[in-house]
Amino acid sequence: MNVLLLHARVRVEEKLLHAELTRRGHGTTMLAVDDLVLSLPPRDGDLDVRPFDVVFDRCLSHSKAQAALALLEGRGARCVNRAEVARVCGDKIATNVALVNADVPVPAATCAFSREAGVTAIERLGYPAVLKPPVGSWGRLLAKLNDRDATEAVLEHKETLGGPHHGIVYAQQYVEKDGRDIRAFVVDDDVICAIERRSPHWITNTARGARASGLTVGPALERISRAAARAVGGGIVAVDVFEAADGALLVGEVNATMEFRNSIETTGVDIPARIVDALERAAGADEVGAPARAREVGHA
């Protein structure tokens, strides 16, 4: 098959994916999203999507990925993940809506659209609360609010210093999670492996210094991870799960372009290989050299 890998930076993950695709004899074109041009209607000089059986999104920017995938799907490209999955996972509020609609357990959360309403909403949610930017990652700009004073101060800072998207207040109830969170990797409905991330700090992202180790996927974790992946539209996702003090599992968020470099050795699972399996299934070309599926493309 022919794969177009859309990226911002070529990190360890993209190199591992490129190596696995190449090893299996698949044509792999690396394209920086910053070099992409797509016209409406399509014009000569645009990227021609017809040679590609699948477009694989590994962009870092949520807004660029979302726009690019919508345009690419619009002209008939098969994208992994699908534009809709990237849209839902890129925005924590959209994710929360999808999870709640699918009856997947989540921490209680609240949304408000002004500073005043935000204070009221968080008071009602109760303390501690975790204030999160709806779009963002790697644990950046999360704030744990322990009382009304902190809430008022942080919301004033957000209103004064933040851009338009900081006008949306999104907060989750703080989950007492015993120093760790869980990340389950789901590929096409299959929970392929999981890690736990431990840290003395309440933010347990590996990007913030937490230590990752492999975790056996028990039936409860498998069930909730699969349900969360389905709720956002499936594909290749990483589900962040908290285990509360009472043993309940709660889904914190779902990531659509996950990092996995530290999870291959810790889990013993060849994650890039499982991802390429999924790309092959998406392309409908299980064997190398199988003909690309004929489909309509809106290219001039």
């Binding site: 070529v10 690396m30 920086a32 930017p133 779009v135 851009g163």
Partner: protein, 61 residues
């Protein structure tokens, strides 16, 4: 593994030599060992480096 000659390119920030054991891929990020700047590979033959753009707020997984 065969012995490879290191490829060396000057850091655009501090002019120190940034060495590559093997040919890098375009858009790869390499840190400068001297000044710590994150550098992005913009060209591969010859290798050209630019200071990598800042991480933006909507970047992530």
């Amino acid at each position: 593994m065969t012995q490879q000659t290191a490829l060396t390119v000057p850091c655009p920030e501090c002019a120190a030599d940034v060495a590559f054991a093997e040919a890098p891929m375009e858009s790869e990020i390499v840190p400068c060992g001297d000044c710590g700047a994150d550098l992005e590979v913009r060209g591969t033959s010859p290798i050209t480096l630019e200071t990598a753009p800042e991480v933006e707020e909507d970047w992530g997984e």
